[in-house]
Amino acid sequence: MKISRAIIYTVLVVMALLFLVPLGVVIANSLRASQEIASTSMIGWPRQLIFGNYPEAWNQFCMAEHCWGIAPYMRNSLSLAIPATLLSTMLGALAGYSIALWRFRGDNIVFALVTLGIFLPEQMKLIPWVVVLRDLGLMNTIAGLVLIHTVQGLSFTTLFCRNYYVGIPQDLLKAARIDGAGFFRIFWRIILPLSPPILIVTVIFQFTGIWNEFLFGVTFTSGDQQPVTAALIALSAAITSEPLYGVQSAAVLIAALPTLLVYLFGGKYFMSGLTAGAIK
């Protein structure tokens, strides 16, 4: 028994270390001089701690024709992810509430289509979005990406909220309706106060997903309108001639930080959302 406990802990700790290697390597390299990395390898302890990589990655190093680091792209990602997260969550809550609690003709078909939206590959939507964005004059704008992610995210948020609201007893609604409460009043007074758990999960998932999204960002924006994921790829392409691995590591870490922080502080919700969404 003692031995098997030891084996369990050994395997778990070794696996945990393996999982941490990439993160550890990036943190270590962000504190090493780029020349030091190029002359040894990516995996190594900093001989001398250097903090200059961070300010350089943030707003100094040059990429394409601009020398403003990744700060503008971080700003783009924020001003894209925050409105798109809030809009898709709010509309999804409303739509989930409609499907779950206001039975109407065809609600099953509508729900099936919403679910399909989650599985539909992004590649099927690229050309239609190009046309829609062009006609709306939103090509290569953050507003265009907000629109895409709101519509795209709605499938997911609707499904999440619907699955949660289905658990609310119908009697509660009937009683409210007898008292003369309508669609909005019931939503506002009864449903929303019950919603924080699901709304937190939805917001965390949407923010992570939108922040990390790459294909739409790289397809519909270019230059200084790009989100940070698209800029990172451009950065790796631009930097190969003169490797600046230290700066690049700092940039990668900065780009990953927002979702990592959300995950660390909302981990409990992250986990419950993961299992709830998948097992239903």
């Binding site: 239609p128 979005w129 994921t229 691995y245």
Partner: protein, 315 residues
Amino acid sequence: MPTALTLPAGERGAQKRAAGVWRDRFGRVLTELAIWLPLTITAGHVVVFTAWTTWVSFTASSLMPDYTWVGLKNYWAVTRTANFQIAYVNLFIYSTGFVLLTMAVGLLLAILLDQRVRGENVLRTIFLYPLAVSFVVTGTVWSWLLNPGLGLQKLVHDLGWQDFRFDWLVQSDKAIYAVILAGVWQGAGFAMALFLAGLRSVDKDLIKAAQIDGAGAWRTYRRVVLPTIWPIFVTVFVILLQSAIKAFDLVRALTGGGPGISSTLPTLVVYDFMFQRSELGRGSAAAVLLLLTLVVVLVPYALFMRWRRRRQERA
């Protein structure tokens, strides 16, 4: 309001009632709008966009959409390219390796974490964190670690073992395995989370009964616990498989589909046709074929879920 004061009492009531009727009507319209607008957008864009891209795939569209019907021409052209054929062979290798290894690692971690270990929360957080990070970031980092002149191979060489070789990333016939490695690292935590939730949902009395019968831990898992949570295996399998079919960012950041086109995947083929070669018709045909690949996986799953629900309802 002075006018209201001059009106006779009866008329005032009628006005109030009329305002009430209008408010009711307005409220009803607003309600209908609130129900149908978000639902129409979500459900509508799925139907319209799918039909739209499918339509484009049957037309002569090149740089711009051009709605001249050409039948299956784009499909013939796309499926004959080396790009497409390599991509589907790669998809087969990648999805098999990724799904099986991710499930194996995820299940191992879940079973070990289920042994009432200390520090479970910390360990779980560590196994799951890759999921919170974008594929672009993890792909970039893995491209450094697996780069023979920069990462693991270089480190081992510097330590004195000069014959050590770990250069999958630059070998055309091995690059796809590098993608599997990074994919498993990112996905194993997800599989672990689902398996762990499943293990925790197993009736404790069932386990106790098995132990009283003298079954060891290994036997209890194999004979009692895992068979009761088999539906979770199906779910994890399908979710991982569909994510393998849709994989794009990770390959793009890790190998860029290279060396050459040796590690390309169906999603990259779509992007390549649409935006690098500006052949929208062929790109759309590739996208529709990608969707059909997903359908092959998802339709049986949907039928399976329905069958299970029916059976549960009858039970």
